[in-house]
């Protein structure tokens, strides 16, 4: 019994490790692509980060960011990459729900669902 648990835990750890690595690399690649586009198009303009204006509405929500990225706006593509980055740990937690379910560990399924709910609330609900 204990041996099966060990084996499962190890397999889960390897999958989680791979998920995190792939997630970060894909996100970084998308941010880089958007960044090159942004620098080519707007690189000569002056910066203005000294005063806080807040981002425009089209880069503040998940759906709007996805829309901006698919419209191939440079800043939209970068923001979409950052969104993928934020989604990487969320995907890890979602996968952990399933992994604890496979191990029939109900207590940890519930705990992981609480963490997942917090993450979804932050991303969608606020």
């Amino acid at each position: 019994m204990n041996e099966t648990k060990q084996w499962n835990d190890q397999r889960v750890e390897i999958i989680i490790g791979t998920m995190l690595r792939v997630g970060v690399l894909v996100a970084a690649a998308v941010v880089l692509a958007g960044g090159i586009c942004y620098l080519v198009r707007y690189g000569h303009r002056p910066t203005d980060y000294h005063v806080f204006h807040g981002e425009p509405a089209n880069l503040r929500s998940v759906t709007q960011t996805v829309r901006a990225a698919f419209a191939l706006q440079c800043r939209g593509i970068m923001q979409f990459g950052l969104l993928l980055l934020i989604l990487t740990p969320i995907a890890r937690v979602a996968f952990s729900v399933m992994a604890f379910e496979w191990e029939k560990d109900r207590m940890y399924v519930v705990m992981t669902l609480i963490v997942l709910a917090n993450l979804c609330y932050s991303l969608i609900g606020t």
Binding site: G23, Y38, L85
Partner: protein, 297 residues
């Protein structure tokens, strides 16, 4: 003088205000973030902790943009490093998940507080956390004795674990669960308020309070930082704190720097390097507190 520039009127700092172009700014911020990520990984202090002072003090970025860019970058470095640690079998996924309940609640609260807290107060709190991180990075890494009977609550929560030690698999017990959980809630608040991973506070909670072996504490902390940061990132995104033009060079720089740092880590003698970096961190801390008190933030 161009008074139509919105930044001009509030610009009361003594530094000459040369307005950089986006490409100059991006390259400089990228290089600075690369150095921060590299030194942060080498010294174990984490690159995220110096990003906000770097951006706000040196590049004169508004602290809210700085915090937003720092926070998303922290997710990148944490996930990048965690992917390696998880495979080695040091991090304890159950401890991580259980404590993430506390850190995510704290992180959401912290992100809401960030909007209500004046920049000056954020700068002062930031400075204090920097001082603590610098101090804590010099803590001697000894593991606690395991002669006490297991804690019933920790056993019930299945937190006790094992890791591959030099003399085979080592078992360990976890103690003081409520204290550790509360500290983690605090770590979450700081993370959401300041846009940092607050790794030092997380390690403090696991290593000092819960008596978890140091190596397990640091790797599990790293594993948790991404989830904690993601919990505040959503709130930041909706508040308009995450600017892609700024976050792009910061995230790419810190990620590259920390990956490079972990590669070199094994060979380098880091004692003197850690001293220098801790010195930089202390200087930034004093500067942040000074700017906060004098209202220049």
């Amino acid at each position: 003088m161009d008074f139509s520039y919105p930044g001009y009127i509030s610009d009361d700092c003594e530094f000459p205000k040369h307005r950089m172009t986006i490409i100059e700014f991006t390259l400089l911020v990228w290089a600075g973030s690369l150095a921060a990520g590299f030194l942060g990984a080498l010294t174990g202090l984490g690159g995220g902790v110096v990003l906000v002072p770097l951006l706000s003090l040196i590049f004169h970025v508004d602290i809210r943009y700085a915090v937003g860019a720092s926070l998303v970058s922290v997710i990148a470095t944490s996930s990048g490093a965690a992917s390696a640690y998880v495979r080695e079998g040091f991090s304890n996924i159950r401890i991580g998940m259980f404590l993430e309940i506390a850190t995510t609640f704290g992180a959401i609260l912290g992100a809401f507080l960030a909007a209500k807290t004046p920049s000056q107060a954020i700068a002062i709190v930031f400075g204090l956390v920097l001082l603590f991180s610098a101090y804590y990075s010099f803590k001697t890494q000894h593991d606690h004795s395991q002669d006490r009977p297991p804690d019933p609550l920790a056993t019930k929560l299945k937190l006790n674990g094992s890791f591959p030690g030099s003399k085979g698999v080592r078992e360990y017990n976890v103690y003081h669960v409520p204290a550790g959980f509360s500290l983690m809630f605090g770590a979450g608040i700081l993370s959401g308020l300041l846009g940092i991973g607050s790794g030092a506070v997380k390690v403090l909670a696991m290593d000092q309070a819960m008596r978890i072996p140091f190596k397990v504490s640091t790797t599990t902390s790293n594993f948790m930082i991404g989830v904690t940061a993601a919990a505040s990132a959503g709130v930041y995104l909706h508040r308009g704190y995450v600017d892609p033009g700024l976050a792009m060079p910061v995230m790419l720089g810190v990620l590259a720097g920390s990956l490079l740092g972990t590669r070199v880590l094994v060979k380098a003698k880091v004692r003197w390097l850690r001293l220098i970096f801790a010195g930089v961190v202390v200087a930034l801390a004093v500067e942040m507190i000074y700017h906060g008190i004098t209202g220049q933030m």
